[in-house]
């Protein structure tokens, strides 16, 4: 087990508990335009046996920016981030981390290179206390030899302060993480990634199961992470969420790129239209209009 030195690299200015529209002055984010991307995928393809899950997809992630990946179910969004987070390897194209070509063998390798992933449903161990979850896999220890033990006081205290810093005030960090709300759980996972000095934060549909208010809370923490200088990959179904925080948008359709835009180049309406399939949506609206009088499904006996 690689003993990562516990060198907390929290956001230097402290992520504002209430991140306002991004301060353009936050060093990292302002100057990034010219800097090389933290992570860059170009023309990446991935096959599951004979299933083409991804074909020629490109994406770049820069410090202090949020890159959104949008697409329908099965479009390949999760596959894309699994390559970045080390769960899968790509079959073609190039994957660069800090300009060097890379191929990650395990999530641990990705973590060691500063890429932290928050998975929608497998982010936490529900029955374990919040503080144990926060440090899982990177637990700080004290003492030597057989007396080497978890530094539980620090773990509890750090969890509490880090969460408070992100604006989550848990009553009790000892409660099983399964008992806190879905939004809070996402936030704990994000706070963990930020605390452990991730340079790139990957989020797979963090708002999918959340209500409007909770989604807003999560999006604020995503923005806080960006303002702390992280590069963020945000996967979502929801163009409204994406447009709120995103700097660039990659649209996937059936494993292929259907578009890639910077925020300045596209409006929310256009993004929504493209995501819904553009002309397909217009067709659908016609169909729906026509189908307002329900026609019985062929081949199935109708009731009565």
């Amino acid at each position: 087990m690689s003993e990562r030195e516990q060198q907390p690299q929290g956001p230097d200015e402290g992520a504002p508990a209430n991140p306002a529209p991004r301060p353009a002055s936050t060093g990292a984010s302002a100057a990034t335009g010219a800097e090389a991307p933290l992570v860059e995928l170009s023309d990446v393809s991935k096959y599951y046996g004979n299933v083409k899950a991804l074909e020629g997809v490109s994406l770049e992630v820069r410090a202090g920016e949020i890159s959104c990946v949008l697409g329908d179910n099965g479009a390949g969004k999760s596959t894309l981030i699994k390559i970045i987070s080390g769960l899968h390897q790509h079959d073609a194209g190039t994957f660069r981390i800090d300009v060097q070509t890379a191929r990650l063998g395990s999530p641990r390798e990705a973590l060691d290179r500063g890429i932290a992933t928050v998975y929608q449903d497998l982010a936490v161990v529900p029955l374990m206390p919040v503080w144990r979850n926060f440090f899982l896999g990177s637990e700080p220890t004290k003492g030597r030899g057989p007396l080497r033990r978890l530094d539980t006081a620090t773990m509890r205290e750090t969890t509490r302060t880090e969460l408070r810093r992100m604006g989550i005030d848990l009553r009790d960090v000892d409660q099983p993480i399964g008992t806190i709300s879905g939004g809070e759980r996402q936030c704990v996972a994000i706070a963990r990634a930020v605390y452990f000095g991730a340079k790139v934060l990957v989020l797979d549909e963090p708002t999918a199961a959340l209500g409007v208010k909770q989604s807003g809370v999560v999006l604020k923490y995503v923005a806080a992470a960006r303002d702390a200088g992280l590069g963020v990959v945000l996967i979502t179904h929801n163009p409204h969420h994406a447009y709120l925080v995103g700097d660039r948008f990659v649209l996937l359709k059936r494993g292929a790129m259907a578009g890639s835009h910077a925020k300045a180049e596209i409006t929310l309406d256009e993004l929504t239209r493209q995501m819904a399939g553009g002309s397909e949506l217009e067709e659908l609206s016609h169909e729906l209009a026509r189908a307002s009088t329900p026609t019985p499904r062929p081949g199935r006996p109708t009731a009565e």
Binding site: M1, A17, N18, S85, L87, P107, R108, L111, T117, Y119, L122, A123, V124, V125, P126, L127, M128, R132, F135, L136, G137, S138, E139, T141, R148, R149, L150, T152, G167, I168, D169, L170, R171, D172, D174, Q175, P176, G178, T179, I180, S181, G183, E184, K213, Q214, G216, V217, K220
Partner: protein, 354 residues
């Protein structure tokens, strides 16, 4: 979205009531302990037999009860750890016999010092655990199937090899061999403190409980055990070596089997090759009574020890009450059911009281 970042759950208490919060969470923490149900059950069983069996409260009875508990408890502890790590081991009962057989027969056949047999037996027991763990991790089959296979193979090998080597179903006595006395001191001695006989297995048992509790609650490895059982995918994704943790847990049950096997060997000189079948369930029952969740991720070593204690009290209490020993199984079943229901209820309450 307004600026309020307050907890989305209704903040019922204003911040200045911290004292009350602290108080409540202490209570909840107590309720949330996995061993609570087992402790309540143990007290109930103790009171029950104290009333119905006059001799139950005598010191000598106490040491008999503790001894019976320790022979289950030594295995129940590593089995509980394994269960917290999300896996089962059905081969533990016969693995104990295998450990004793290997030790005895190796010493006898090689006419070496018994300590050599003890060492070889340790390696064999750890290897069996390693085998179970590696097959599990590599194949991804349920541990139920894999360890059932190991159980059957070990049962057959225990009988087969013993017959092949000594011509009988039991091993030859090794009581006159070199090192026997010192080995007996380590694995099967007893010490008299006042009027009470304390068997050394009780010491081993308590030491194992302490060690296991330390590992579970105070080390990184313990954190990984909970995580591996609670959600292996999540654990792997944050860099926990899940496969290695599970293999180590199986080797832990191997270690327990070795210890108990050596105790049996050095208490009786000889080993019956057909013994141990069915005991694996007793270990699992002790762990479950002690609050280990069948699905993994939750439980404690202390709970498993209390489960073993309930087992010992019931086993011997029935004898002291001069009932038919057949009632033991009935009691065990009833205990299992009650403890599981109580545990489920307690846990639900603990988790619901946000």
């Amino acid at each position: 979205m307004s600026g309020s970042l307050a907890r989305p759950t209704t903040p019922a208490d204003p911040p200045e009531q911290d004292e009350r919060l602290l108080h409540r969470s202490t209570l909840r923490r107590l309720l949330g302990r996995p061993e609570l149900g087992a402790v309540v059950g143990a007290v109930a069983v103790f009171v029950f037999f104290s009333v119905v069996a006059d001799s139950f409260l005598q010191l000598s009875s106490l040491s008999t009860v503790l001894y019976a508990s320790s022979t289950i408890g030594i295995m129940a502890v590593p089995v509980a750890l394994l269960m917290i790590g999300g896996e089962f081991d059905l081969s533990t009962g016969v693995a104990v016999t295998t450990s004793a057989l290997v030790s005895s027969m190796f010493s006898y056949q090689m006419t070496a010092n018994v300590w050599v047999g003890v060492g070889v037996s340790l390696l064999t027991s750890l290897a069996i655990g390693f085998f179970n763990g590696v097959v599990l991790v590599r194949m991804g089959l349920p541990s139920f199937i894999i360890t059932l296979a190991t159980f059957l193979m070990l049962t057959g090998m225990n009988l087969g090899f013993t017959k092949l080597i000594s011509g009988k179903v039991s091993t030859k006595t090794i009581g006159d061999m070199e090192g026997f006395e010192s080995a007996r001191k380590v694995f099967a001695s007893q010490h008299t403190i006042g009027d009470v006989n304390i068997k050394v297995t009780i010491v081993w048992w308590l030491a194992l409980v302490a060690l296991a509790t330390w590992i579970l609650l105070r080390t990184r490895a313990g954190n990984w055990v909970f995580a591996a059982g609670g959600n292996a995918h999540a654990a792997r994704a944050v860099g926990v070596p899940v496969a290695r943790t599970k293999i180590a847990l199986y080797m832990g049950t191997g270690f327990g089997a070795w210890m108990l096997g050596q105790h049996l060997l050095f208490s009786f000189d000889t080993v019956q090759s057909g013994e141990g079948v069915g005991n694996e369930l007793l270990y699992i029952i002790a762990a479950v009574i002690g609050g280990c969740l069948m699905t993994g991720g939750y439980g404690s070593a202390i709970g498993a020890a209390v489960g073993a204690l309930i087992f010992g009290m019931t086993n011997k209490g029935i004898v002291y009450a001069q009932w038919d020993a057949d009632w033991f199984k009935y009691f065990l079943g009833a205990m299992l059911l009650l403890a599981t229901l109580l545990n489920a209820w307690v846990r639900k309450r603990a988790e619901a009281s946000k």
